[in-house]
Amino acid sequence: MKRAAPYIMLLPVFILVCMLLVSLADSVLQSLGYFPAAGLTSFTFAYYKEVLGSLALRDSLLYSLYLSLVSALLSVALGVALSALLHASARAEALVYRLPIAMPHIVVAFLVIALLSQTGLLARLAYALGLIGEPGAFPLLTQDKAGAGVIAAYVFKQAPYVMSVVVLLMRRVSSTCGEAARVLGASPRKAFFYVTLPLCMPAVSTAFIIVFAYSFGAYELPFLLGATLPRAFPVQAYTEFLSPSLLHRPYAMVYNALMLLFGVIFIALYLVAFKRLMRYNKAVYA
């Protein structure tokens, strides 16, 4: 009975985990051509070959990697800067990150349209300042190839998240080791860049991985704010999935399996980063 106790306590979680694993295995099987519902029962790598050789895959993958990399780097930079400036006051930090975290992505998408589109508030401001004469003269910032709108929306959502992850550790580090560096004569800038920030890096890297993984896999923002072509990877995958022919399903599942592969890499990286974070945490507490 004693040995069974943790399993009983975890039973609902186990059931949900099994559902998750079954659904993922199903995606992989279908990508390999095993899809009895459509009469496909033989395993083959043919779908992989075809999808991996396609331009649609290459373009969407590169576009998504670009979008997530740029938005993750900007979010982390801004999030760390905000923590550095505001970690001394708990009230200030709450002000910054509560509201954006409560705002769903679709609302943020609308805000980006209202602010950055060619008839948005910024364009009107540019007109009032005499910089442009008509909406078309304002640079295209939403549904654009460079993905400025998508990136802006992600940074708005993610920088406060990064801050919420980093700020707790930073407060502890800067009041101990950072303070020690200051007492020993380091300038505030040196104490931050040579002591506090390096010691916070484990938290920063876990935040980076989470933020990158999220924007790599999410559908809403590139769907509402991204360019029609190239399509972001999730949008391309879902478009393939929506194909009415069941015989097309394995192609969609190749996209899915590739995304899952990325997910597994993200999890492995996170576990490594998290281990380091725990070690640092112990050192900082001690």
Binding site: L20, V22, L99, P160, A213, Y238, L271
Partner: protein, 263 residues
Amino acid sequence: MRRVMLWLCAAAVLLPVALLALYAVCARWPWPAPLPQSLSLRGIQALLNADVRGTLLSSIGYSLGSALLSTLIALPAARAISFYNFAGKRAMRAVLLAPILLPSTAFFIGLQTLFTRLGIINTALGVMLAHIMVILPYPIWTLCDMMQSVGRTMEEQARTLGASPLRAFSAVSMPLLLPACVSVTALGFLISFGQYFLTLMIGGGRVKTFAMLVVPYIQSGDRMLSAAFSFAFILAAGTVYGVMDAVLRKHSGARPPTRGSLV
């Protein structure tokens, strides 16, 4: 420097909300006017429509339900992870990261095919189950942290004084964990309430949530209605969250530290 930064941040967070409010009540806002030319209450009226109110209420219901169930599932799970050794504990940690780190589109497409097979596609049950799967890692992590910091020594004292295991937990540990439970439920509510794509895929348009009313307006470019619905969205989420927060503060002085979420 710090003050300037604070003001900038406050502006970056509050201006968008003000813009939403402005757009929600504008009737005509033609290019290039920097402010609306005339105001109207049509957006607000659209919100007061019986169907919309119904969807809002049921949406809050689904999200509160999913969040509460997630916390209830997470509570024993976090205890097992914190205080017991069992085979597969390390694997469990990795799997619990999956809903956060797996690309969500792949995760959702997988769930859609599974739920179709299980016959719970396009049902409220399926939608809530999917939402619980997305929410669950957050309460489990937070409650694990909390349980480890509360520890088990006080509970063991109650046990040596003759309390049953259940009573020792409910009378000693539970009150200490309750604030964290309330705050993760509030977070779970926010996560669930903001889901659009997942609800669309699992609910198939048959299970309507408030998020699904907003997106068509954004897509069609109706800024006044998009803004009115977005504003109501934030207001509803903020009200439910605020009520929980107020309950929390009334019953315990300090707010437990919770991680934020992305979704």
